[in-house]
Amino acid sequence: MVLVVNAILSWFTLAVFAVMPRKLPAAANTLAYMVLAIIDINKLSILSFHYHFFVISKQVPDFLSVILHRDIIISVTLLIFMNTTLQAKRRTVLWAGAGIYTYLLLLCWIMHLFGAVEYRDWGWEINGLLILLLMGLSWVLGRGFKSLGAGGGETWRM
């Protein structure tokens, strides 16, 4: 069940990213995805396989849903947030940020609800804090890439 839910959510997240007006070139979005993926994959593996704060299901469909959650849903949602912060007014950014934060928390709750991720020494407070940190990093990446792009077109060429 959770695999179906996450497959649809992956499609939804990618579709939103595909149709939204983007402020940064594809190369910047790809680099931002790579940085976020490096952090998110290591975060998940260290917290689950090293510290055992939570346990990832060994059922193949559940595990695949975790992979979709990690590699598509979370990372691309953070890219959506990054691009939103670069083009909207301050008030809109705050509302969009709150909406995306709630959506990311809901995604984690779905994983927990369907048993794909079982919490042990883990709580919602620290989960919420980690999401905030990832959103903060996305914001910084967006600002950084925008300033590089503004610095000269050559930055994005070969």
Binding site: L31, I38, F63, M158
Partner: protein
């Protein structure tokens, strides 16, 4: 997940990882720069990302096809070890640009890199960087290298080449 400890010393596998990273960094600094900062970062990071995506999907339960490093459990040194992939992506594209490879030349070049990748992976397995299990064999990595190198080249050209 039951932990398996293969080795508890700083020895061959750690030295190989650090050696590859140092050699890669030296090569990066010595070679004339051919890329913009963004293209250089893309070529450096893509190997790390692909390595992480594969290892943290097929090398963890339920598939659990191999372990990385001294223990089955993910260790802090394992995080660092992904840095050894970074220069390879850079040198891979560097060679294509340096020698202005086209069509059949690129196919041959990818094949040589894929075989080189398997060769290096064999060295890594020998010194204990990788520990195959649950039926995984070194040869299975060969098609993965062909696909990931081709994907790298396609992405690089779409994102950074203007002609």
């Amino acid at each position: 997940m039951e932990n398996v400890v293969y080795d508890d010393r700083f020895n061959g596998n750690e030295w190989l990882v650090l050696g590859l990273m140092a050699a890669g960094l030296a090569g990066y600094l010595i070679l004339p720069k051919r890329f913009s900062p963004m293209a250089a970062w893309f070529n450096l990071l893509i190997g790390v990302v692909i390595g992480l995506l594969f290892d943290h999907t097929i090398a963890v339960p339920p598939f659990d096809l191999y372990d990385v490093g001294d223990e089955a459990q993910y260790q802090w040194f394992d995080v660092l070890s992904y840095g050894m992939y970074a220069p390879f992506g850079y040198f891979f594209i560097y060679g294509i640009e340096r020698f202005r490879l086209r069509s059949l030349g690129i196919l041959l070049y990818i094949a040589v890199w894929a075989l080189g990748g398997v060769g290096l992976e064999w060295v890594c397995e020998t010194v204990g960087v990788f520990h195959y299990k649950n039926g995984y064999r070194l040869l299975y990595s060969l098609p993965i290298y062909f696909v990931t190198e081709s994907l790298h080249l396609v992405m690089y050209r779409r994102l950074f080449k203007r002609h």
